[in-house]
């Protein structure tokens, strides 16, 4: 019997997609899976995240039509439920918004998908491309200001399930769109692989809050690819609240002048959780601002990773790019790796990054206790204050409240 | 000394100066006052040669030369000094080293000998006393970690060291307490001579109690709209700028 690679064994039970991705992308995906294997920690991009446990799983793609209804939406605006990589309930109609499953997309729409993502280097993108059974194309009409928050509820359920899904969001000229992506899981040995692409046209605006709340035996790998045209704004907030193994690869290409790009993230890890946030902000046009703020609190035996990379390409002058990563370690067995990187090829720029790692401010704890608070409340108050800076970046009050309450509940904080 | 004729200038296509005329002779002190945004600091920056501004019309003659043709450093070497409204910090470069380099480059330009270390130190001692600047500040990095008042005094100290023909003081008094103001004014007065001149840009009449100007000009909307003696400053202090605006409006009718 000929030797097959780990990735081929891993994918042996998956079903090839019927979606009309471009033929080259299907061929590229196949080729990638044929020639590349799971990266090891020797690969710089995976230096701090092991894939061995994931690679051992033998997963199926299982269609569940009945929605478990375990996930409550935050508001009753537009909602699409995606369970195990299949669309299980569809949104009501919303003015200015067209939502089309990939199977019903026009050729012109499909041609936009996967344009700037490098299929040849990335096995997960290849897995998603080759095995996503369904996808969603969201189009925001020109100059439409969509009211309220639209929600994508990703849920993984069952045992040994693989849930790839692809979303393309086209935010057309002058429009504005607010989105929540929620990730939950019930069951065991689940691997969710949602990939979301954003094409943000001139003067358009999108804000997206990702709430990652999977369970203690799930794997979640999210990839976001964003392309910005001139005068556009993107805000992406990622809250990693629960889930055994979470990896976020967020890639932002800023093609137009005068764009604003804001990435924020908060992670509260405990037990054996592992979280890895990788961001790439690629400035190819001048006169843009980007800001990144990632903050984490780690306890138990959890491990956290932040790897942020900012590129400023030649001629992308007058760029302001800031990156900040702050971590608090609460237990002896928690660990954190931080790697904020700058690659700058233009001179008239202001770029900086900062990274700090430490404990809670004991003087502050003492101060609060001296004012009569119990040690527990003092610590939870300071912890909450540390994270609040990120939570406050969320634009919708109901989302902010939801996150705060969820954290209080999970971490047994006094409110 | 300096003769500004019909100066027009803009920044990023916004017109700031719209035909400014000013003639300053040796031995004179001119004060330029005016409301915020009237173009006072722009005038100072243009005279010193800051590249952000575009001169669209007019000319400036300085000591017989076409000022606008000269580079920033050559204007300085010709004897034009600008006391910055917001003095710049240069980390790691000591004040003394900075001034010694500046002084020697100016001397070289004029075909003079380099200053000896001994003479230089004597000069530093003499001039820092003039503005009551702690000699420790002279050895610290240029403006780094200085208080607002120290920065302004440092500007006057540098002026004293470089001994310019024309000094332009850009809001050197703003933000100063009365003691610092007195020290700065003293410094300027002691440097006054029949051979040099000064343009003092200010918001407040207060400084002019200490430095008595020969002329006071009101700059408004990019032009000098009113000129007078020192009593004009008092009038402005008392009545504000509105009466000038009204006067202009009624003249226009």
């Amino acid at each position: 019997m000929e030797n097959i690679s780990k990735i081929q064994a891993f994918a042996s039970k998956f079903k090839e997609t019927n979606l009309a991705f471009t033929p080259t992308s299907i061929a590229d995906a196949k080729n990638t899976l044929l020639h590349l294997d799971f990266p090891t920690t020797k690969t710089e991009f995976w230096k701090y995240t092991r894939l061995a446990k994931l690679a051992q799983l033998r997963l199926n793609q299982e269609k569940i039509r009945e929605n478990e209804q375990v996930v409550a939406p935050l508001t009753d605006n537009g909602i699409v439920r995606i369970t195990n990589g299949y669309i299980t309930s569809f949104s009501k109609e919303i003015a200015g918004l067209t939502i089309t499953p990939f199977s019903k997309c026009s050729e012109q729409q499909l041609s936009l998908i996967g344009k700037k993502a490098d299929l040849k280097q990335n096995i997960f993108l290849a897995l998603n491309t080759l095995y996503s059974q369904e996808g969603l194309f969201i189009e925001v009409e020109e100059n439409a200001q969509i009211e309220g928050v639209f929600q994508l509820l990703f849920h993984a359920h069952g045992e040994n399930c693989f849930a790839p899904f692809r979303v393309f969001i086209h935010v057309k000229k002058g429009s504005a769109f607010k989105l929540i992506q929620q990730f939950t899981a019930s069951g065991e040995h689940l691997f969710s692989l949602p990939i979301v692409e954003y094409l943000v046209e001139e003067n358009a605006r999108i804000s997206c809050d990702k709430l990652q709340m999977e369970n203690a035996s799930s794997f979640l790998l999210c990839e976001d690819y964003s392309i910005q045209k001139r005068n556009s704004t993107v805000l992406l907030n990622t809250f990693s609240i629960s889930g055994a193994w979470v990896r976020n690869n967020s890639s932002f290409l800023i093609e137009g002048e005068n764009c604003e790009t804001n990435l924020n993230g908060a992670y509260l890890l405990k037990d054996l959780q592992h979280l890895d946030n990788h961001t790439i902000v690629d400035h190819i046009a001048p006169h843009c601002n980007s800001n990144e703020l990632y903050k984490g609190i780690l306890s138990g035996k959890s491990t956290g990773v932040f790897n942020g990379k900012v590129f400023v390409r030649p001629n992308a002058q007058k760029i302001s790019a800031f990156q900040s990563n702050a971590n608090v370690l609460l237990s002896d067995d928690a660990s954190v790796n931080s790697k904020p990187e700058l690659e700058i090829y233009a001179n008239d720029v202001k770029c900086s990054h900062g990274s700090t790692t430490g404990q809670l401010d004991e003087n502050a704890v003492f101060y609060l206790r001296a004012r009569g608070l119990s040690e527990k409340s003092a610590r939870s108050l300071i912890t909450q204050a540390f994270i609040a800076e990120v939570v406050d970046k969320v634009e919708q009050k109901e989302v902010r409240d939801f996150i705060k309450n969820k954290l209080v509940e999970l971490h047994d904080w006094t409110n | 000394m300096i003769n500004i004729v019909n100066l027009h200038a803009e920044v990023e296509e916004k017109k700031i100066l719209k035909g400014l005329n000013l003639n300053v002779k040796a031995g004179e002190i001119h004060a330029i006052m005016g409301p915020n945004g009237s173009g006072k600091s722009t005038l100072a920056s243009i005279l010193a040669g800051k590249e952000d501004y575009t001169v669209t019309a007019g000319n400036v003659e300085f000591d017989g030369k076409d000022l606008l043709e000269l580079s920033t450093e050559d204007r300085a070497r010709q004897g034009l000094f600008l006391a910055f409204q917001y003095p710049i910090e240069i980390p790691g470069v000591s004040n003394v080293n900075f001034l010694k380099s500046a002084l020697n480059e100016i001397r070289e330009y004029r075909g003079e000998e380099q200053i000896s270390a001994k003479d230089f130190l004597a000069l530093v001692k003499e001039k820092s006393a003039l503005v009551e600047l702690d000699s420790k500040l002279a050895s610290r990095s240029v403006n780094e970690g200085f208080s607002g008042g120290e920065k302004k005094r440092n500007e006057i100290f540098q002026m004293a060291m470089l001994n310019p023909k024309l000094a332009i003081l850009d809001e050197t008094d703003s933000g100063l307490d009365i003691d610092a103001l007195r020290i700065v004014a003293n410094g300027v007065n002691k440097l006054r001579s029949p051979k040099n001149a000064a343009i003092i840009i200010t918001h407040y009449q207060r400084l002019l109690d200490y430095i008595i100007p020969d002329f006071v000009h009101v700059l408004y909307d990019g032009r000098i709209v009113k000129s007078g003696g020192k009593e004009l400053a008092l009038e402005l202090e008392e009545k504000g700028y509105d009466w000038i605006k009204e006067e202009l409006a009624s003249n226009a009718e």
Binding site: I344, T356 | I88, I90, G92, L99, K100, A102, Q114
Partner: protein, 482 residues
């Protein structure tokens, strides 16, 4: 330091080309090109080495053959052809130098051109100098005076013969032969270098200094330095490097090991000015160096480097903070101009409790160069109360160069406190305008601002080196603006 700023700088700026680009006409003893076991045996026999040294080399060579050249650096260059290098080149000499007077006059002239005239140094500064030309240490001054204190300062070859017990005990303990590709290569073929031992409780009364020079074409330089500061000892060690101007790329792969025993302190300063190649990126030295020190309890190692030369630099002077309360410091200025590439930084490995490290890195890029800071701060599980502060600044001059920052921060202990800051910016327009308004030319203004920007690092250098370094900065950046 301030004495230099005016006339000296002026003169230096007029002489902006690489001024160390001359070749010394000394007949040299160069072995055939190529790399195999026979060559290594030949090197070892030429140096009349004991068997244990040959074994060490052969083992390293075996390890090297299994390794591949590292690819992770942010540098692009044509890989050296290892079988086209002559691994041994020594200035031919009829007999050993008994004293300074015996040294070949050509050699003396070389040193004079390099500005390290030994007689003068002996007389004026009291710096003890070891001079390594191509592969071999040619002169060590002040030996007798040092030996009175029990200090050993000699060439590495001499140490192998005279102090085998020390060499065997410490060589390879900080940087094992298998550490990396170039360290392994060095361990197999190194020809000479400096050795220094400071006995217990002795404070070395003078700066020890080695001057490295590549003279011969078609060779590489593979030197090895081992500095041991015994308990409570102190030493300040300086290293300078130059090479002639050639169209070919020459390889310099050195290994430097520092050992600071309990309560000891080692200060290691480098001014690296290997030939950087010409304006079009032709020629220049590949500087692939492994430098690392180990700190025992309450000891301190401080690395200071001013890197202005070399076509490609790949160098991370590091500290293993093994002992409790030990301290590691790294101060660096790296300047790249034209087509130079530098990937440099440090590793601070915190193993012991209450260990402390400081990293100050100042990068300046000009021309079409690429300048990267790469640093690792690693806090191990038992390193309670470890502290690190890192400041990495990059300054860009011109819009065709690149400045990059790749910090790795790994923390496994909650009581650690790590702060890392980095900024990238260009020389401030407002700073330049301010200087010009005071009558300074643009060149002078830049030179002042750059020296100010680097001051925190330059201040760490001994006086004579600091002046040299300031001049080098100005010369390296000449013509980079406007």
């Amino acid at each position: 330091m301030s004495n230099y700023t005016e006339t000296d700088l002026e003169k230096d700026l007029q002489d902006q080309e690489y001024k160390y680009g001359f070749v010394t006409n000394i007949e040299s003893d160069k072995i055939p090109v190529g790399l195999n076991e026979d060559i290594i045996r030949l090197i070892s026999s030429k140096k009349e080495e004991p068997n244990w040294m040959l074994d060490y080399r052969l083992k390293a060579f075996a390890v090297w053959q299994t390794m591949t050249e590292p690819e992770w650096g942010h540098v692009h260059y044509e890989k050296p052809k290892f079988d086209e290098i002559a691994y041994y080149s020594a200035p031919k000499q009829s007999k050993k130098y008994e004293s300074w007077e015996d040294v070949d006059p050509e050699m003396k002239a070389t040193m004079k051109k390099l500005g390290i005239s030994m007689e003068e140094q002996m007389r004026l500064t009291g710096v003890a100098v070891d001079f390594v030309m191509d592969s071999v240490s040619v002169a060590t001054s002040f030996k007798s005076k040092l030996s009175e204190l029990g200090i050993i300062f000699c060439s590495f070859s001499e140490a192998v013969k005279e102090h085998p017990e020390l060499v065997q005990k410490y060589m390879g303990t900080v940087i094992p032969t298998s550490d990396n590709f170039y360290a392994a290569l060095n361990s197999a073929v190194f020809t000479d270098g400096s050795f220094c031992y400071i006995p217990k409780g002795v404070r070395c009364p003078m700066e020890l200094s080695t001057y490295f020079r590549i003279n011969e074409g078609g060779t590489g330089q593979f030197e090895r330095t081992l500095v041991i500061a015994d308990e409570g000892a102190y030493v300040s060690y300086l290293e300078g490097c130059t090479a002639p101007q050639r169209d070919e790329n020459q390889l310099h792969a050195a290994v430097v090991e520092l050992i600071a025993l309990e309560n000891a302190e080692i200060k290691y300063s480098t001014v690296q000015n290997w030939y950087p190649g010409d304006k079009n990126g032709l020629g220049g030295i590949y500087n692939f160096v492994t430098k690392r020190g180990i700190c025992e309890r309450k000891s301190k190692i401080s690395w200071t480097q001013v890197e202005t030369g070399s076509a490609v630099t790949w160098k991370y002077p590091s500290c293993i903070l093994k002992g409790d309360y030990s301290i590691g410091e790294f101060y660096s200025v790296a300047v790249t101009n034209n087509y130079q590439q530098a990937d440099t930084g440090t590793k601070m490995i915190h193993l012991g409790k209450n260990t402390k490290s400081t990293i100050i890195s100042k990068g300046i890029s000009a021309g079409k160069s690429q300048n990267s800071y790469r640093g690792l701060v690693q806090i191990h599980k038992n390193a309670k109360n470890a502290r690190n502060f890192s400041q990495c600044d990059s300054l860009l001059m011109g819009d065709t160069c690149g400045a990059h920052t790749f910090p790795y921060i790994e923390c496994k202990n909650p009581s650690a406190k790590i702060e890392h800051e980095a900024t990238t910016s260009k020389i401030g327009e407002d700073q330049l305008f301010y200087c010009k308004q005071r009558g300074l030319s643009e060149e002078k203004a830049i030179s002042l601002i750059v020296n100010g920007y680097c001051k925190e690092v330059l201040n760490q250098l001994p006086m004579e080196f600091a002046v040299e370094a300031q001049k080098l900065l100005a010369i390296s950046l000449e013509g980079s603006v406007g």
